[in-house]
Amino acid sequence: MFSSITSRLSLAKRHISVFNGRSFLRQFASASAEAVNITLPESSFRTYECDPPSFEMEVTKDELIRMYKEMTAMRRMESAADTLYKSKLIRGFCHLGTGQEAVPVGMKAAITRDDAIITAYRCHGFTWIRGGTIHSILAELMGRKTGISQGKGGSMHMFSKNFYGGNGIVGAQVPVGTGIAFTQKYLETKNATFILYGDGAANQGQVFEAFNMAKLWDLPAIFVCENNFFGMGTAASRSSANPQYYTRGQYIPGLQINGMDVLAVKQACSWAKNWTNNDQGPLVLEMVTYRYGGHSMSDPGTSYRTREEIQHMRSTNDPITGLRKRILDLGIATEADIKQFDKETKAEIDEAVAKAQSDPHPDPEELFTDVYVKGTEPPIIRGREREEFAVMQQ
C-alpha cells in the first residue's frame, strides 16, 4: 500500500497521536509491518456504469490489528454511551452506530487526513476517526466543557478538522459536502469529500440536487449511502422506489459494497479516492450495513423488524467478528492476544468515561457565544437586559 517504511511510520505516528493512548503505542511496537494478500469475495462489490475495484488487496498485519482495535473501541464507546444514556447522564437525542463500525474504520484506512468527511447525526464513529478523542466525544454527549463542541451540542453535533459534522437535519449535509468538494477542486488539491447519508435520507430532494451539481462540475464528491435497511421504522424497500442506492446517481457511476467487511470498505474507498484523483468526477457508493440498536435511544428497534433478524445479522455478518476470524485464520494474532487487545480497549474507554463524567459543565455565558463572530454580537443577542449577562458572569 505504502511506498516506503518511512511513510508507513509517519502514518502510524499520526494514528498514535489520534488515539492518545499508551496501549496503541505498545501495539504498534509489537505488531508486524509485514503485508498479507487478501482476496475479497465476489459478493463484495456490485457495479453501476463502472468496473469494480480489484478483489485482490494487500494489507499489513499491523493495519489489520489496528482496524480490529478501532472497531472494538468504537463499539465499546457506543455501548458506554448507551449505559450513560440509560443512567440519564446523557440527555437529548442520541444515535448509536453499533453494527456499522466497518464503514468509518475502513474509510479511514483508505483516505488521508486532508480528505474531508461530512455525515448525518450517527456521527460518533466518524468524529473519532477524524481525530476526536473518545473522551471528547463522551464529554460532548454528557454536555461537558471538555466536549468536542464545548459540550454545547451533544450527540448530533460533533466536528473536527476536515470533519464537517455531525448534521441533524436529514439530507442537509449532502449539498454542503458538494460545496466542500467544489472548494477542493478549486484549490487543485488531490483530495475528495466523502458525503455520507442514510437510505432514508437518500429520498430527500437535496440529495438529487447535489448529484446534479457534482456531476455538472465534475467534483471530487464521493456520495456514500450507508444503507442499514431502515430510516427510523421505515424499511428501505418501503421508502424508496429504487432501493439499489448505488444506481441512484443515474449519470454518476456507482458501487455497492459489503459494508460489514472493513476490508471491502477500505478497498472501495481507496478505489474511489483514486477515481477522483484522476479527475473522473463524482461517485455514489452504497455501503450495505446494519444497525443493531434502535434508531435512537428512545427506539427499542424491535417493533419494525424481528429480534431474529437482528440476531442473524449479528451472528453471520458482524464486522468485528469477521475481521477477528480473518486475523486468527491468518495467524496474525492469537486468541490470547485478542483478549488482551479487548482488555486494553475496555480500560481505555472506562478511563475516558470516568474522566468525562467528572468534567465540569460549560459556563452559562457560553449560551451566548458562537452565535455571531466574537465582537460583532448585536445587542439583541441576549434577548433581555444587559444587566442579566453581567449577573451571570459573577
Binding site: 440519564k88 447522564l89 440527555r91 437529548g92 437525542f93 454536555g143 459540550g151 454545547k152 451540542g153 451533544g154 450527540s155 448530533m156 453535533h157 441533524g168 437535519i169 436529514v170 439530507g171 442537509a172 432514508g200 435520507a201 429520498n203 430527500q204 430532494g205 437535496q206 430510516g231 427510523m232 421504522g233 421505515t234 418501503r238 421508502s239 424508496s240 417493533s303 419494525y304 463524567q357 467528572s358 465540569p360 459543565h361 460549560p362 459556563d363 452559562p364 457560553e366 449560551l367 451566548f368 452565535v371 448585536p378 439583541i380 443577542i381 441576549r382 434577548g383 433581555r384 444587566e387 442579566e388 449577573v391 451571570m392 459573577q394
Partner: protein
C-alpha cells in the same frame, strides 16, 4: 457521581427560593437562579430534571380532570357534546381521536407522514392505519418538501390532506411549499384553486433535553405569511377541538403541538365530534391589574408565575389569556383586557427578536396606547439557537415571567 445530601439540600433550597420566598429584585433573582443551577449542575454531575423546577402541568387549574369541569366549557355548549360522554385522554390520544373522527366523517381525508402508519414518533397516529386502512393512513419517504407539496396537490383536488412533519424543526425543508405554494394558491389563481383541505401537524417547543433540533418553536416564521392559519393548543380538550376545526377550515392550517404536553397533559375529553373556534383567544383567568398572554405549554409557566406574583404582591390580580390561534389572532380579546388592566406581559419560547410577542405588543400599543400604565413586557427565549445544556437558562421560565409581571406592576 457525587450525589449527596448537599445536592438534596441545594435542590430544596432552590425550590424554596423559587416557590415561596418573596423576591426582592430582578438582579437578585437572576443571580440566585444562575448560581443555584450552576451549583446543582456541578454537584450532581447531572442537568436539572426535565420537568425543571416547575410544578407539573398535572396540578394546573386549567386542566379539566372531571367530566363536569370538561363539559362546563361555554364553547362546547352548541356542539352536541355538551351533555355527552368524556374519556380520560392525554394530548396525543386526543389528537389521535380528532384524526380518527376526521377520517370517519370525511371519506376524502388521508393522514400521512414519516412513520405515521406505525403511530408516529409521538404515537399520535397509533392504530389509525389498522382502523382506516393503509391507503388512508400511510408512511411517506423522508421528504418534507415532498410531503407538503404532495398534500397541497391533494388539497387542490378538494381532498382533505392531514400531513405530519415529524418535528417542527424539520418543517424548514418544506418552508417553500408552505409559504410560496400553500399560502398563495388561492391568491395567485384568483380563487380558481385553493388548498382548503390541507392541515400540517407538527410537534414543537421544548421537552427538557431536545437540544438544537428537537425543541424549536417556529410559529413566527409562519405568522409572517398571509394565507396561512397557525394554531397551537394547550391541552387535550383544546387540541381535539382545535384540530378538528383546523382540518375542516377552508384554509391551509399549520397546527403546532407542544410535545411536552403529549403525555403530561391529561383531561377528560368529550368523545364526540366537536370543534373549537379558530382565531379566538380564551380568557383562562380574569383579573384587573395585569394582562398576561401566552399559548401552548407556556400557559402553565404563566399560571405558576401569576400564582407566585399574586401571593407575593398583596391584592394583585392578573388576567391570563391563551391565544390558541396565532394567525389570525384575537386582537379584540387582548385589547379589551389591556384596556381594563393597563398592563401587558407576553411570553413565548421562541427567540424574542421578531417573535410573535412583537406583533402582539405593536397591536396593543396601537389600540391601548392611552390606557397603558407600563411598557409592555416580552418574556421570550434568548436570541440564540435553542441550547441543549442551557435549556433551563434559555426558556422563559416562571421566574422570568414573574419578574416581568412585577416589573409592570411596580413601574
Amino acid at each position: 457521581m457525587r450525589t449527596s445530601r448537599t445536592t438534596t439540600l441545594l435542590l430544596r433550597n432552590f425550590a424554596n427560593i423559587v416557590h415561596s420566598r418573596p423576591l426582592i429584585r430582578n438582579r437578585f433573582t437572576h443571580k440566585v437562579f444562575f448560581h443555584a443551577t450552576r451549583t446543582i449542575l456541578q454537584a450532581t454531575g447531572q442537568p436539572p430534571p426535565a420537568e425543571g423546577f416547575l410544578p407539573g402541568v398535572a396540578q394546573s387549574k386549567f386542566i379539566k380532570s372531571t367530566q363536569e369541569e370538561a363539559l362546563k366549557n361555554a364553547e362546547l355548549a352548541n356542539t352536541g357534546v355538551a351533555n355527552g360522554e368524556t374519556k380520560k385522554m392525554n394530548m396525543f390520544q386526543a389528537i389521535n381521536d380528532a384524526m380518527s373522527i376526521a377520517l370517519a366523517t370525511d371519506e376524502t381525508a388521508v393522514v400521512f407522514g414519516e412513520d405515521v402508519a406505525f403511530g408516529g414518533v409521538f404515537r399520535c397516529t397509533l392504530g389509525l392505519a389498522e382502523m382506516f386502512g393503509k391507503d388512508r393512513v400511510f408512511n411517506t419517504p423522508l421528504t418534507e418538501q415532498g410531503i407538503v407539496g404532495f398534500g397541497i396537490g391533494m388539497a387542490a383536488m378538494g381532498h382533505t390532506a392531514i400531513a405530519e412533519i415529524q418535528f417542527a424543526d424539520y418543517i424548514f425543508p418544506a418552508f417553500d411549499q408552505l409559504v410560496n405554494e400553500a399560502a398563495k394558491y388561492r391568491y395567485r389563481s384568483g380563487g380558481i384553486f385553493n388548498v382548503a383541505g390541507l392541515t400540517v401537524r407538527s410537534p414543537c417547543s421544548a421537552v427538557g433535553h431536545g437540544g438544537h433540533y428537537h425543541s424549536q418553536s417556529p410559529e413566527a416564521y409562519f405568522t409572517h405569511t398571509p394565507g396561512l392559519i397557525v394554531v397551537m393548543p394547550r391541552s387535550p380538550i383544546q387540541a381535539k377541538g382545535l384540530l378538528l376545526a383546523s382540518i375542516r377550515d377552508r384554509n391551509p392550517v399549520i397546527f403546532f403541538e407542544p410535545k411536552i404536553l403529549y403525555r403530561a397533559a391529561i383531561e377528560q375529553v368529550p368523545i364526540g365530534d366537536y370543534e373549537l373556534p379558530l382565531g379566538k383567544a380564551e380568557i383562562l383567568k380574569s383579573g384587573k391589574d395585569v394582562t398576561v398572554i401566552g399559548y401552548g405549554s407556556q400557559i402553565y409557566t404563566l399560571e405558576n408565575a401569576i400564582q407566585l406574583a399574586e401571593k407575593d404582591i398583596p391584592g394583585l390580580s392578573c388576567e391570563l389569556i391563551d391565544l390558541r390561534s396565532l394567525l389570525p389572532w384575537d386582537v379584540d380579546t387582548v385589547a379589551n383586557s389591556v384596556n381594563k388592566t393597563g398592563r401587558l406581559v407576553i411570553a413565548h419560547e421562541a427567540p424574542q427578536t421578531s417573535g410573535f410577542a412583537a406583533e402582539v405588543a405593536t397591536n396593543i400599543m396601537e389600540r391601548c396606547f392611552l390606557r397603558l400604565e407600563a411598557p409592555i413586557q416580552r418574556v421570550c427565549g434568548f436570541d440564540t439557537p435553542f441550547p441543549l445544556v442551557f435549556e433551563k437558562f434559555y426558556v422563559p421560565d416562571m421566574i422570568k415571567c414573574y419578574d416581568a409581571i412585577k416589573e409592570v406592576v411596580e413601574y
